[in-house]
Symmetry: C2
Amino acid sequence: MVTMQDVARRAGVSAMTVSNVVNERHYVREETRRKVSAAIEELGYTVNTTARNLRQGRTGVIGLALSEIDRPYFGRLSALVVRRARQHGYEVVIEITGDRREGEMAAIQHSRLRSYDGLLLYASQLKADDSSLLRADYPIVLFGERTYTTPVDHVVVANAEGGALAARHLLERGCSRLAMVGGRWSDGDDADVATARTQGFADALRDAGQVLDPEAVRDTPYTLPASRDAVGSLLAVMPDVDGIFCATDWVALGVMRGLADHGLRIPEDVKVIGFDDVEEAAFARPSLSSIAPDLVGMVDAALGLLVERVAGSRGADDYREVVGGVQLRARESTADERGPAIRAPEAGGDPHAGRR
Amino acid sequence: MVTMQDVARRAGVSAMTVSNVVNERHYVREETRRKVSAAIEELGYTVNTTARNLRQGRTGVIGLALSEIDRPYFGRLSALVVRRARQHGYEVVIEITGDRREGEMAAIQHSRLRSYDGLLLYASQLKADDSSLLRADYPIVLFGERTYTTPVDHVVVANAEGGALAARHLLERGCSRLAMVGGRWSDGDDADVATARTQGFADALRDAGQVLDPEAVRDTPYTLPASRDAVGSLLAVMPDVDGIFCATDWVALGVMRGLADHGLRIPEDVKVIGFDDVEEAAFARPSLSSIAPDLVGMVDAALGLLVERVAGSRGADDYREVVGGVQLRARESTADERGPAIRAPEAGGDPHAGRR
DNA sequence: ATGAAAGCGCTAACAC
DNA sequence: GTGTTAGCGCTTTCAT
């Protein structure tokens, strides 16, 4: 292994000068710079990041903890985080929590153990009781969940607003027997992704004079098989359903398959709308209407908050909440029989991020 | 920040003893161990991985370089790699190459710069000419590409065999006007994923007395829009196509959408088969027949090779090639009109990995 | 079974 | 502008 010392000897300077060249500090004489650069080239020197990090008291790595990586939404999220983090000078290590509370808590522990500089945590299962963990003297930004009781930086989709958009869209397209798959009724102060979307959906229906039958909200895991099978149990309690809001597009893909298995046509018999606007949605048959969150804006905000927190440039009591905007993308799966089907897909728009 | 020294003072021992406890070395007296553990607990000590790594000359991180993360196949691959690597005691940092040769070369450079302990590289664009890079005195395992000219550890899907399986399946199901989307004719010794699958497909057709029209092989990017649009150009040269082999399932999803846009029914008018067996495939409508590689076996093999290489437990001239097995998964998209449609989906089997 | 000394490769702080 | 000194937190080596 070639060290700075080796380069310094070769170039006839001190290690410090090599360091100055490597780090592009400006006050190095041009001639010296060239000598050192030549020596680096000849010896094939690369800096030892570990040593640099030890000296600087950082690791240059942030953790990204999420439920699963092999689902379109998380794939897209990861891609955005990795790219953006690198722009901030950080590498990203991915941690899989399996969507379990223990997994999410373990990620926090593990993250500190591994000495990441900070953690971006997609937490769906952490409850207010777990706040002590989040309070940790450790830079954490929560993503995708809203926590009311704990002071913690977090970025959240406008879940309730999205649910309301979906409700109004289905009503407008003539649906009257509405259901939700992947929904859950809130049972306290906390609102996770599922309950927030359900609440927004139910509230908007109520405002329109409709009541959402509790039986019509199927609380199923966000997997393709479970979502497909949810159709059967939904039809058992509501055989004449004509509009389904799915908590995520992934759920919707399973539901569409389930409806087909029951011989139901989309959108003629049942209209379907999802949430997340993953790329698959626009190419499914029929193309899937969806609520599109401003993922790019949210990732930017989250990393901004995390980097600030790591740098300590924000006070210990100064916590922020960023709410990502949502937009309706109407496609074939909610097309009105009276109008022409909308052809898929269009380019993504540029939703706005609200900041409080 | 709490250091070993702090713990040592608190427990009334030396730092070395704390180190011995932390690393679970066996020759520590039980009483001492308890004292130290208590001090660690009280002070909330965690080891500084950076310092440990500096001392041990490793980073504990391996790089995973792949084209894109936000595609089902790569999502699944990443999930497997992350889980398996952790079992070997490594974290994984993901690098996106964008499926460009420069991206792949940059990943190697970057990886050395960042001092990862090793690199798992999904390379599709590296040519034999770039062999010097791979020869680097740096542990690299190639994944998904076959390289003939360079001595390098690599793990590869049985691409040609998979292509042949697809060909024979389509023929067996009565197709006679065959095409391929996402295929590419080889132009040299090297065979990347696309050319290997194309070759296997074409060879199997030839063996069955069919000739694959060069015009019927559409070399399009592996994206949903490009794959959908490829259907139009394919129909222009081959209006009566009745069987399409898609280089990946992702391509197939786009092709299925494109066929629908042209009013063609699957499988009645055109049968479609993909490659990779991603979860979406089994839930598409119709469910997509696919060639399923033994991903689990391949990831195990790749990490095994990489860990050996990092540990230096294999000679500098001892390079291995591992070939991952493939299996046919027949589903609705290639169903025979004469027989009943096969209902999706079944659990994944346990393909065999061949080792040469 | 435990401790003391040394040093991994780098850079902050200061001296020249 | 460039060099010297010191030390980040840990573990290897060797002594006790």
